[in-house]
């Protein structure tokens, strides 16, 4: 796409979006139909440059000229619509308009994924579009700067999710398995990943390019912490492939891609290739496509002699809106895993072996359960575990195996044939070593957790042994152990003396605590206890690191 075409597209978009009577057009050309745009307009006016876009905020005439000469300062406007997030005006405006026009009938998941995929593909293969996008992001960074709170919270959330997708390996996982790109699920969700397949480095190039653009364009970016830089890049990356301004389609697509890549091995891919005709029919149907695709794969396994890949994946869960069999959890276990289902906590694949009537009185709210000795009556927890790597199944895995109900009705022998086994969480035995609380697991002599509480509400974990329990149960051990001790880290949870290699590497890379393995585990445990992590900190104490999580309800 040439610049002329871009401009032409802009003109068309402008014509198509002639402001309504309630809209206002500022001197700077900002279509204003909402508070966010009004704030932007006010800021532009404050700078006194009525001809400038947000790109030019805070720049001298010479700097603007220099930016223009380098192609970085073409005018790019922010358009606001009350019904949607602030979007970048240009070719993608048409996409967004199209979505707005059909908003009365909410697009189903398949449509969202398709939109995402088509837009992503077009952008990846369209350098002019990329430049336009970058310029839009630069504008956005400037626009956000100096207290202009434009779309801030929404952007933050999008950035977090996008950055997580990059960090947790979703993207890398998918790129590392090119065979999976040909499977029917990718056909079902679109072709954007195919574009990436043709240039596996596209994503990196985009990030790199965007990073350079951001650095060159905005001095403030250089002053950000590494984490915040990552957030900005992740945010921009996400919006690059997600023109809707919504995280839903993108995150779902990445996760769908990840699950397929993780759970379908080469044999599976080959078998699926042989059924492309059937799968294309599947893809041509709208509505329930994602769920059907998963079901298709699950059902194809025995027919195609496929088996789930044994390599572990990032462990993402599908979005809650994806139609799928939900575990039959009673109130008790919902308390245990209310956050886990969406977040990949130990409770993801958790089945409560007990009955609702066995609940203790305090169990209806995890946080409140502690006062009443609520741990006593807790029913045993059952997980399904992949024998190959001794890792509990999370909800997406369970879906691939036909759903929880199916697993519950599967005999031990049949489970074994599928490489699975049931795992009942052992009884936790609480004790005290004179200075601290201890937690052991019946039948697992190596499992041991030690915690101190010198100040009410501040719990310090000093030791964590647990390697004989299945992977994924660590947060459960932590939360249940504290629950059994009737201890709640209501103000702080501290992991003390952390010197393990993965954490040290995270720390030295400048990762945020919450992205570290221990940070994630602790977060899930806190959520299981009904607490919210408010602040994460690394603390260097003596010759070790402490992970300090300030908590609240």
């Amino acid at each position: 796409m040439t610049n002329d075409k871009v401009n032409d597209s802009d003109d068309k978009a402008k014509k198509a979006e002639a402001p309504s009577a309630s809209d206002r057009v500022s001197d700077s050309g900002v279509v204003d139909s909402g508070d966010k745009a009004r704030r932007l307009r006010a800021q532009l006016a404050a700078y006194g440059d009525q001809d400038a876009s947000a790109t030019h905020i805070g720049k001298s005439a010479a700097e603007i000229a220099q930016l223009k000469a380098s192609g970085l300062a073409s005018k790019f406007e922010l358009v606001d619509d009350e019904k949607s997030s602030t979007v970048l005006k240009g070719s993608i405006q048409e996409t967004v308009r199209a979505n707005l026009n059909t908003r009365a009938e909410e697009p189903n998941l398949h449509q969202k994924l398709s939109n995402f995929a088509h837009s992503g593909e077009a952008r990846l293969l369209d350098p002019a579009g990329q430049q336009k996008y970058f310029q839009g992001q630069i504008d956005k960074i400037h626009g956000i700067g100096d207290g202009l709170n434009l779309a801030k919270e929404e952007m933050k959330d999008a950035g977090r999710k996008a950055w997580e997708a990059l960090q947790d390996g979703s993207v890398a996982m998918f790129l590392a398995r090119p065979n999976a790109i040909n499977d029917p699920l990718f056909h079902a969700i679109g072709k954007s990943f195919d574009a990436m397949k043709r240039d596996p480095h596209t994503v990196n190039h985009v990030l790199e390019h965007l990073g350079h653009e951001l650095i060159a364009a905005n001095d403030k970016y250089n002053e950000l912490s590494e984490h915040d830089k990552g957030v900005e890049i992740g945010k921009a990356m996400f919006f690059f492939v997600n023109p809707e301004g919504s995280t839903e389609g993108g995150t779902t697509a990445l996760k769908v891609a990840d699950r397929v890549a993780t759970h379908v091995d080469a044999a599976a891919t080959k078998a699926i290739d042989n059924t492309l005709e059937a799968s294309s029919k599947l893809a041509s149907r709208a509505a329930e496509s994602a769920q059907e695709a998963k079901q298709f794969i699950a059902e194809s396994m025995p027919q195609g002699q496929m088996k789930p890949a044994l390599a572990g994946g990032p462990g993402n869960a599908f979005e809650p809106h994806v139609s799928q069999p939900k575990p039959k959890l009673n109130d008790h276990s919902m308390t245990m895993s209310s956050d886990g289902i969406g977040e990949g906590a130990a409770g993801d694949g958790l089945v409560n072996a007990g009955k609702a009537g066995e609940r203790s009185a305090g169990d209806s709210a995890a946080g409140e359960a502690l006062g009443g000795g609520g741990a006593k009556g807790r029913a045993k927890q059952v997980f399904y575990v992949r024998e190959a790597d001794n890792r509990i199944l999370k909800e997406p895995d369970i879906v691939l195996f036909g759903g929880l109900e199916k697993l519950e009705n599967t005999s031990v022998e049949e489970l074994a044939e599928r490489g699975l086994k049931k795992f009942e969480m052992p009884e936790l035995i609480v004790g005290h070593d004179g200075q601290a609380m201890t937690i052991r697991a019946e039948g697992h002599p190596r499992v041991y957790l030690r915690a101190e509480m010198k100040v009410e509400g501040e719990v310090t974990i000093t030791d964590l042994f647990g390697q004989t329990l299945p992977t994924g149960t660590g947060n459960f051990l932590l939360s249940e152990g504290l629950r059994k001790h009737n201890v709640l880290p209501s103000s702080k949870l501290i992991l003390e003396g952390v010197v393990n290699e993965p954490t040290i590497q995270s720390f030295k890379r400048g990762d945020s605590v919450e992205r570290s393995l221990l940070g994630k585990c602790a977060t899930r445990a806190l959520k299981s206890l009904g607490l919210a992590p408010i602040k994460y900190e690394w603390q260097e104490v003596g010759d070790a690191l402490n992970i300090v999580i300030t908590t609240g309800r």
């Binding site: 947790d168 390996g169 572990g312 994946g313 990032p314 462990g315 990949g344 890792r391 070593d433 004179g434 200075q435 601290a436 190596r446 041991y448 101190e452 010198k454 974990i461 000093t462 030791d463 964590l464 042994f465 647990g466 390697q467 992977t471 994924g472 149960t473 660590g474 947060n475 992991l495 003390e496 003396g497 952390v498 010197v499 393990n500 290699e501 993965p502 954490t503 040290i504 030295k508 393995l517 221990l518 994630k520 585990c521 260097e540 003596g542 010759d543 070790a544 690191l545």
Partner: protein
Amino acid sequence: MEAGFNDQDLELIKSLKYDPSLEPNFEALKGCLIWDDERPMGLSSEAYRTVSSLLVARSLLHKGLTLDDHPINADYCKKVWASAQQQISDWPGFRRLTLSDKDRKYLNDEIAASFREDL
């Protein structure tokens, strides 16, 4: 620099008996091996942290490194080590500065596994 042991801590540590038949266990926070005869119950918090420092320092030796390779604070680590060697020279942990092949494999396997996606 004193290693942070009070009289009771010293008594507790000196009461420890080295047991060569014990198997090590891998502690996930510190990423090191620990044997059951190396930490008595009832240590003060400060002493407990000091012993933890010693365990981490020793794990460097187990990995074929030196105390100078401590990832956070090598000076602190060396001072604690030197002080402890004077104060609690009979600590059983000092008798396990090298690993058997079996224990080395166990340590390496656990470290490799610690890079997994979840605990």
